[in-house]
Symmetry: C2
Subunit: 230 residues, 2 copies
Amino acid sequence: MKSPNDTVPKMSVHSQRGQCAKRLSILEAAAEVFCRQGFAGASIDEIASEACVSRQTVYNHYREKDNLFMAVVEDVMDRANAMLFSTLSSFPENPESLEDDLAAFAVRLSHNCICNQDGKFLRKLVLSEGERYPHLFESWRQHGPGKIGTALAALLSRLSRKGLLQIDDFDVAARQFLALVNADLQMSTLFGVTPTQAELESAARNAVRTFMRAYAPPPAQTNAPALRTA
Amino acid sequence: MKSPNDTVPKMSVHSQRGQCAKRLSILEAAAEVFCRQGFAGASIDEIASEACVSRQTVYNHYREKDNLFMAVVEDVMDRANAMLFSTLSSFPENPESLEDDLAAFAVRLSHNCICNQDGKFLRKLVLSEGERYPHLFESWRQHGPGKIGTALAALLSRLSRKGLLQIDDFDVAARQFLALVNADLQMSTLFGVTPTQAELESAARNAVRTFMRAYAPPPAQTNAPALRTA
DNA sequence: GACGTTTTAGACAATGGTGTCTAATTTTAC
DNA sequence: GTAAAATTAGACACCATTGTCTAAAACGTC
């Protein structure tokens, strides 16, 4: 229960620099090892050695293994969410070619949020440790994947209002867009293989082509009235 | 290295009955515990007690933890593959209503292969232990998910040849069908929640509707020539 | 250079797991 | 009923890991 950290040391602001670097180094190494070995399989010694830090330093910064794990998860979740919404903000608003722009967006999405190290980490850890730490990943579920659906739905609704797409249920369409982007990548991600840029682009093209075929408005040049206005 | 099993016991065929039950019980309990705790987090004691069997019996049947784990994985993989292809054989060949029949098929697929215990087990274990046992899951990858794509592609090509669908790339379409079926379920499966039957049916309907919109043949009743013949 | 803080290596007890062994008991086959 | 096989509980050595502790060393600041 008690730990050396309980006696708050009056550390000068400047001495934080070295400490901060160590903290970061530990966090990074711990993410690596937890991702590779899982919580139970990871040992503090391994983390310390991978962080080029003594074991005691790890215990100084994070009192116990559980605590370190939670800190790592929260760190990765924050980074992943930031990246997610940063990528989301690059969604094409006034596309020149909707298909091309959506495909480019899909590539960014899979590259920055799904196939990167953080994405891999979260998939693995949510699945393997999610039940043991129900509240830990819950906030991520709500603020990350939970929100990306509605956020993407809102963006799709704008395109729909411009007449570039014809969508009846935006939430469903958003989930389907994400699912289609993943369709060709799932085998790779499941087995930890990082797809090449070419594979990413091919997957995105396939996804967007099908998405557009399903949700493209009827080719009403001038004469044909829209078959259905949702 | 050496174990009691090395001195092959000349067991009569009949004495297998009790043994067989124990083996099965151990296998089942081990699957449960490995799935819940992961390989490193699972203890033989816990498995033995969950199987209502002494620890020594576990060691008698499977020499070591590694061995038990591999036996469990192979067992689950076999069951999952059998179920996969059994479900696949119920793919609508001469559909009355293609949309309804495809949706019913999608429900069967998600219910029997994705949302069941074996599906959960394999997702979890492939992801968390796949890198540690590269060859173990490799055969599953080839014979399971690797083949379902091509098998489903073949079935889709039949529907396409009958003029019920218009598909240019059958492999892509097959992957997309699977992805769409999962679109609404991924959040649930990721967090270990088993979807209700109603959710399954809703997800299937959404998936099939979009799939059909993307791949339905042009409504060439009699007059309109097909816009594109792939 | 002196001070306080952080880091380090190493030893340490406590714990929990694996895999082995034994001796007693139960099950099963004939 | 008897003999062989399987099962059981318990003890055991061994090892890895967690988390603590200490004394020495390195570091940064004044």
